[in-house]
């Protein structure tokens, strides 16, 4: 009997390999290096081994920028992958390229793959959905800013719990400085944390047109009273040692590792790095807000990347893409990815599963980001940002903030300049997409 099965399998295999029944192959270009990249490969292998109709081929393409630009170059040369991972600031560029992308909700409908947008965290999918709430890309690795604090230094300064508001950050920092700390806090990704998320958390627009969701003729609004007040405060804090600037991106995190600064506001996905590099007891808390401005803060917005499906592939290949995206969203895979990388779980089921497994008990602080994202219903100001040329706008904002930190410009003047330069970039994008 076993011999017979084997013979049939061999025959079957022969006929399969010799005809169009061979597994449909699709390429997935991604930007996950290091440990996260290995985990990604493991997940893909699990998918490939789970069935024999489709085969996903993951290709590491370098940084987010490199991955996106090489996918665009490939599209222009008609050699694009079926799936590409694009960082959140590239969202508007992808969305505007209507002839190049296959919206995920459309793909799922066309291929009749099971798909319910309600399964996903709305504060995550909001960033990637159109005005009608249709998901255009599939969230994959999302993070949000949180506050990390050094428990040992807090204990030394006689502070029992982490600060919830910026008022408390200032008060606690004074105590920390008095107990010998070099600085109170430092921040990573200053535009994302101190302006984009500041605006969302206080339910204040960052840009017109519902933060850019409603059209291309968007104007930037981050030179309003709230943002100017916050940057003015940070500048004052910088002079008194409460805040210390440590560079763009996450260049400032060594200040926290080396215990110069007792607090760090940065991405929730920095958790893994903290575990590895912090030689002290650290805690995670939600991103502070101004108690003087709001009673209850809104949710924060996300960073990270999502998966876009590109046009120009066969029907069979799109079936493979849909099956794979479905697989990625299953609670088991999502929970594994979330627990391994520290990125947010993108479905409610994955969060519940992780909770049930007791992960948050054994890894305290890893649920802060999820709770912060889901504590309130996203408003038009906390859904996300959709700005063309966003990469350059971030650069403009970084420059403006640096001119404040170095004392060359006042907060109001610097933010006004950034808005003016940013608007020019938005107009350029608008003109290119008419």
């Amino acid at each position: 009997m076993r011999k017979l099965t084997l013979a049939m399998a061999v025959l079957g295999g022969l006929s399969l390999s010799g005809s169009s029944f061979a597994a449909t192959e699709i390429q997935w270009w991604h930007a996950m290096g290091g440990a996260n990249g290995q985990e990604l490969n493991r997940i893909v292998k699990e998918f490939n081994d789970s069935q024999n109709k489709y085969k996903v081929d993951p290709v590491f393409k370098g940084t987010y920028t490199e991955t996106m630009t090489s996918a665009i170059a490939a599209f222009r040369a008609h050699k694009q992958p079926a799936i590409v991972q694009v960082f959140e600031v590239g969202t508007a560029s992808m969305m505007a390229a209507k002839g190049a992308i296959y919206p995920v909700y459309q793909l799922m409908k066309d291929t009749r793959e099971p798909f319910n947008p309600k399964d996903y965290l709305s504060s995550v999918t909001g960033y990637y959905s159109d005005l009608k709430g249709n998901m255009l890309s599939m969230p994959f690795n999302s993070s949000t800013p949180v506050l990390y604090y050094n428990k040992d230094m807090f204990k030394k300064a006689g502070i029992s719990s982490p600060p919830k508001t910026w008022e408390e950050v200032a008060a606690d920092s004074k105590k920390l400085l008095a107990s010998g700390a070099k600085c109170g806090f430092t921040t990573g990704w200053q535009s994302w944390v101190q302006l984009e998320n500041l605006s969302a958390r206080h339910n204040v627009p960052f840009a017109s047109n519902d933060d850019g969701f409603a059209g291309l003729n968007t104007k930037l609004l981050f030179n309003g009273p709230l943002q100017v007040m916050h940057i003015t405060k940070m500048h004052e804090w910088q002079k008194s040692g409460i805040f210390s600037y440590g560079g763009r991106r996450s260049d400032s995190v060594p200040k926290f590792y080396s215990q110069q600064c007792a607090m760090y506001t940065g991405s929730s996905s920095a958790y893994g790095g903290m575990v590895k590099n912090a030689k002290f007891d650290f805690g995670v808390s939600s991103l502070p807000y101004w108690a003087s401005e709001v009673k209850k803060p809104s949710n924060t917005i996300i960073g990270g990347a999502s998966l876009w499906v590109l046009r120009g592939k066969s029907k069979e290949q799109y079936k493979a893409v849909a099956a794979f995206l479905h697989f990625l969203s299953t609670p088991k895979i999502q929970a594994e990815w979330h627990q391994f990388t520290g990125y947010l779980p993108i479905t409610h089921a994955a969060y519940e599963l992780t909770k049930k497994e007791g992960f948050y008990k054994t890894h305290p602080g890893t649920d802060v980001a999820v709770l912060q994202m889901t504590a309130s219903k996203p408003t038009v100001n906390s859904r996300g940002l959709r700005l063309g040329n966003f990469v350059q706008i971030r650069d403009v904002i970084n420059s403006a903030l640096e001119s404040v930190w170095s004392g060359q410009a006042t907060p109001q003047a610097a933010l006004n300049t950034a808005v003016k330069r940013g608007d020019a970039l938005l107009r350029r994008f608008e003109r290119a997409h008419q």
């Binding site: 560029s93 390229a97 001119s403 350029r428």
Partner: protein
């Protein structure tokens, strides 16, 4: 002095491979850039609009572009000047050494094998305000180093990183140039009572002028075009645009900003600037060169 070849076709045939390479790797892409500079295009190339000089007008109305030009001039001339001056000094010193000559010369050439991007990262770590040994040392002697905020310090850092690498290259040429100077000339001057300093300025330096001129042209071209790796791995043009050189701006607007038209217009302007500079160098400085 001219050489005449009997055949008409052979010389063309001999330069053909070089011409083909130039056409494929320079003329064709340059032509593409030239065409793109007159179009406005979205990132995916789905729509293209001819806008004439629109991209150039945008460019010359942008105050940041003029800032970038100023930054590039400071950066390029600093790199060329320090690269040539330090290499010349090292070459003169290495030429004098009698024992262990090979060891010194080899060590001085080594940095050239380091890729520009890596050179940038090396210096970046050495000067990191939080963990870099040089920054910590400077802090101790009272110089507060923070290239994340201080534009001048960031500029000094990228100049050091870009120059360090180039010194080895310049050194090789100067050393060869020095060794080609006949000993008898220097000895004659010494017998006539010229001191080492006078011997250098009146004999060695003028005789090295063809080498120096060649290196000036090559170094300026290097600083204008080949240094974007150094900047990309260190400051990325910051803080506040103080190290945003023209070539880095071309890269950033084109490859990160995905604005192919604006980036192409910039590269046309950059090509024109470097072309003009090279012409000026050959017309005016070369006259002072003694071959």
């Amino acid at each position: 002095m001219s050489v005449y070849f009997p055949q008409k076709k052979l010389p063309y045939l001999l330069v053909l491979p070089q011409l083909i390479i130039t056409a494929i790797f320079f003329l064709w892409p340059a032509g593409q850039a030239f065409k793109q500079a007159f179009y406005r295009e979205d990132a995916f190339g789905l729509s293209q609009t001819f806008i004439g000089f629109g991209n150039f007008i945008d460019l010359f109305q942008d105050p940041l572009y003029y800032k970038s030009m100023g930054v590039t001039m400071v950066f390029s001339f600093s790199v060329a000047f320090f690269g040539i001056a330090i290499a010349l000094w090292l070459a003169v010193m290495a030429d004098r050494v009698i024992r262990g000559k090979m060891a010194y010369q080899t060590l001085l050439v080594w940095p050239y094998a380091v890729a520009p991007a890596l050179a940038g990262v090396l210096w970046w770590i050495l000067f990191d305000p939080n963990i870099g040994p040089i920054a910590l040392f400077l802090d101790r002697i009272g110089i507060h180093w923070n290239h994340f905020l201080n534009g001048d310090q960031a500029m000094i850092l990228v100049v050091i990183a870009a120059t360090w690498k180039q010194i080895s290259y310049n050194f090789l040429f100067f050393l060869a140039g020095l060794q080609a100077i006949p000993r008898s000339l220097i000895e004659a001057a010494a017998i006539d009572g010229a001191g080492p300093f006078k011997r250098f300025w009146d004999i060695v330096f003028p005789l090295l002028s063809p080498t120096t001129f060649f290196l000036l042209v090559v170094n300026l071209v290097y600083a204008f075009f080949d240094t974007f790796g150094v900047i990309d791995t260190t400051t990325q043009g910051g803080p506040d645009g103080s190290t945003n050189t023209l070539v880095y701006k071309v890269f950033k607007d084109g490859f990160i900003g995905l604005d192919s038209g604006g980036s192409a217009a910039q590269s046309i302007v950059l090509m024109a600037i470097v072309g003009l500079m090279t012409v000026v160098q050959f017309r005016f400085i070369e006259r002072k060169v003694q071959y």
